[in-house]
């Protein structure tokens, strides 16, 4: 059974608008949460993280929100840019990390 789920395989947004990517996890013991971005034919690259003691972390256009009671996290990208088009993976754990299946974001010019 997947411990981390991304239920939206794809998302399409207009340039300049907000992109919201969602992720759910099952294990309440997870204490770190990560987002990775992946372009075709490349390895995933680290984007932003949040620890379980926080509910929000912001880095430029990227903000991650954590709702521990709902076991849910989300990544907000504002404003979205065409260069943000990629597959986004969330990961949860502490030490070992479990990854979701990814959401392919397409930002239209």
């Amino acid at each position: 059974d997947q411990q981390v789920k991304q239920n939206s395989p794809s998302l399409s947004v207009q340039e300049g608008r907000i992109s919201i990517l969602n992720c759910d996890y099952t294990n309440s013991m997870f204490d770190y949460f990560l987002w990775y971005k992946k372009y075709p034919a490349e390895g995933p690259t680290f984007l932003i993280s949040i620890s379980s003691i926080k509910d929000k972390n912001e880095d430029g256009r990227f903000t991650v929100f954590l709702n521990k009671s709902a076991k849910h996290l989300s990544l907000h990208i504002v404003p979205s840019q065409p260069g943000d088009s990629a597959v986004y993976f969330c990961a949860a754990g502490g030490g070992k990390f479990y990854f979701g299946s990814g959401t392919k974001l397409n930002v239209k010019p």
């Binding site: 981390v4 990560l34 034919a41 490349e42 390895g43 030490g95 070992k96 990854f99 299946s101 990814g102």
Partner: protein, 116 residues
């Protein structure tokens, strides 16, 4: 860049043959991981290592073995390749904080393996 390379980048092999993939790092990081990426499954952990000769199984370890005889190299072996092992394989490294790995892996560029 973190200095992590995977070889080969692409490989086609026949069912039943053994295959070894190599991950090499120049960062002296303690922790190394092998993941496979498949459509609909994302990244799944195969094996990981927390030091030289110290390895453990991940979520999908059946049919795979690993070895780490040096800090910089982590080898993944498919003992007898099957078509279900056709995938993209990623190696990742992380440094440690005390005895625990720090979060935020750095990934290699991947090896695309096709078993025919």
């Amino acid at each position: 860049d973190a200095g992590i390379t995977q070889s080969p980048r692409h490989k086609v092999t026949e069912t039943g043959t053994p295959v070894t993939l190599r991950c090499h790092q120049t960062e002296n990081h303690r922790y190394m991981y092998w993941y496979r990426q498949d459509p609909g499954h994302g990244l799944r952990l195969i094996h990981y290592s927390y030091g030289v000769k110290d390895t453990d199984k991940g979520e999908v370890s059946d049919g795979y073995s690993v070895s780490r005889s040096k800090t910089e190299d982590f080898l993944l072996t498919l003992e007898s390749a099957t078509s279900s092992q056709t995938s993209v394989y990623f190696c990742a490294i992380s440094e440690s904080t005390g005895n625990q790995p720090n979060y935020g892996y750095t990934f290699g560029s991947g090896t695309r393996l096709t078993v025919v």
